[in-house]
Subunit: 257 residues, 2 copies
């Protein structure tokens, strides 16, 4: 019996989920996926995600890996799973990967996007995937703040919960803010993210854009390594996990502790 | 007591409405708007829409006119109404207009947009505002069909219900199809639209794109003036009323019968 390791790329609308990770009670992406996988593969499976997303957070490029002894051809995974999955989850791609591939440990970089709408009203049509900010924002200043946060830093001030024995040093390769009419897109690319880190970075940059804090304050927040210094956690609906990068070769990357 | 005529431009997510027009039972855009207007203006009002939209159809640029004796400054309409409206309706703009302005009779042109997604899966995030088409489409051929439908024609074949004593001649100024990756946008601009006309045009052009009918068939469908000849009505969720055009001057346009 051949056991294959399958990598699946997926999109979901996080609105009606309590988050990715299975819980005792409540609807989760993991539970829906495992139910669909079990139905299609005719065996119990346990999936491994690149990362968990919180309640209300979306994904356009979440990745999971699943080991299966089913003989279903890899080309059949996308249509077979989409036929049984609920409408708010879809499989975009499926590929067979090496047996030691692990969606979480092998992830080298991730891109998150945070979508904000400013102006006189919140868009009814976009309301599930955007966060409304009624305040005028100084985008030039926010970009300076974004530049300050880019690079390798101890992001402890932007971590929701302190877990003392784990490193809170991460590298942000890119933190760009693009503007299109009344829309703002934050694109954050990094080698890993602490719990709620992207939403805390965005919440703090919004304070900067509103003039509630200065660049000098932002510098102090970063160096202070204390969550109480940073701004509020931006709401989940504006956030989406866009892409997860893996090494091209089959060689496993060095594991971050 | 001064009675003012106010023009309001609005956006709504049609997903959870039985359509625009008030009905005995069920949630409608009109009923929600009139409830909000009554609360803000402290008087009973009756609104006039540029046009009705069906159950599930969205609007990014619907227009209504409302007469009121309230003294609320026109600049307060947007924030005051948005404060009491449900999340799936928003007022974008408010302006005082001449007393004889009538959102329906004065409408000169309207733009509708129909959004289609092709490819291997339907997007969970976009599912409420797009129609999924799993078939390969010949966009070049569809554009030829769109050109054929542009202009002044008797569109009786694309009307849901025949109302014998009314003219079914309309002018389509533009019917363009733009493609962006796996997305297709139909933009239809016309001087007026029969019931379900845009959805029937799109449904028929999709048959053309799939190779189910030819350009010659399309010509016969148009000239046949019979609803049974045309393709199926495309689903409502892909459709949005984007913009309504009114004459710039205060002069009322000639009324179409």
């Amino acid at each position: 019996m051949t056991v294959r390791n399958i990598k699946l790329t997926l999109e979901y609308d996080g609105t009606n989920f309590l988050g990715f990770q299975r819980q005792k009670r409540g609807r989760t992406v993991q539970a829906e996926l495992e139910k669909a996988l079990q139905r299609v593969l005719q065996e119990k499976v346990k999936l491994i995600p690149a990362g968990r997303t919180d309640s209300g957070v979306h994904a356009r490029g979440q990745v999971i890996s699943v080991k299966t002894s089913s003989r279903l051809p890899v080309t059949r995974f996308v249509p077979a799973l989409n036929r049984v999955l609920p409408k708010d989850i879809a499989i975009k791609r499926a590929a067979r990967v090496s047996d030691d591939f692990h969606a979480r440990y092998w992830a080298q970089r991730k891109i998150y996007r945070y979508h904000i709408l400013t102006g006189a009203y919140h868009s009814p049509i976009e309301r599930r995937t955007t966060t409304y900010c009624p305040y005028a924002l100084n985008v030039t200043l926010m970009r300076k703040g974004a530049k300050l946060l880019t690079g390798t830093h101890d992001f402890r001030s932007f971590q929701a919960r302190a877990i003392d024995d784990k490193s809170t040093v991460r590298t942000i390769y890119r933190l760009s803010i693009s503007q299109k009419g009344r829309e703002l897109f934050f694109t954050v690319e990094g080698n890993g993210f602490l719990y709620n880190m992207v939403r805390n970075l965005v919440g703090t940059l919004l304070l900067l854009g509103r003039g509630k804090i200065t660049l000098s304050d932002l510098r102090k927040i970063l160096s202070g390594r204390d969550r109480r210094l940073a701004g509020p956690t931006a709401p989940p609906q504006g956030l989406s996990l866009e892409k997860v990068f893996y090494p091209r070769s089959g060689a496993a990357p060095k594991r971050r502790k």
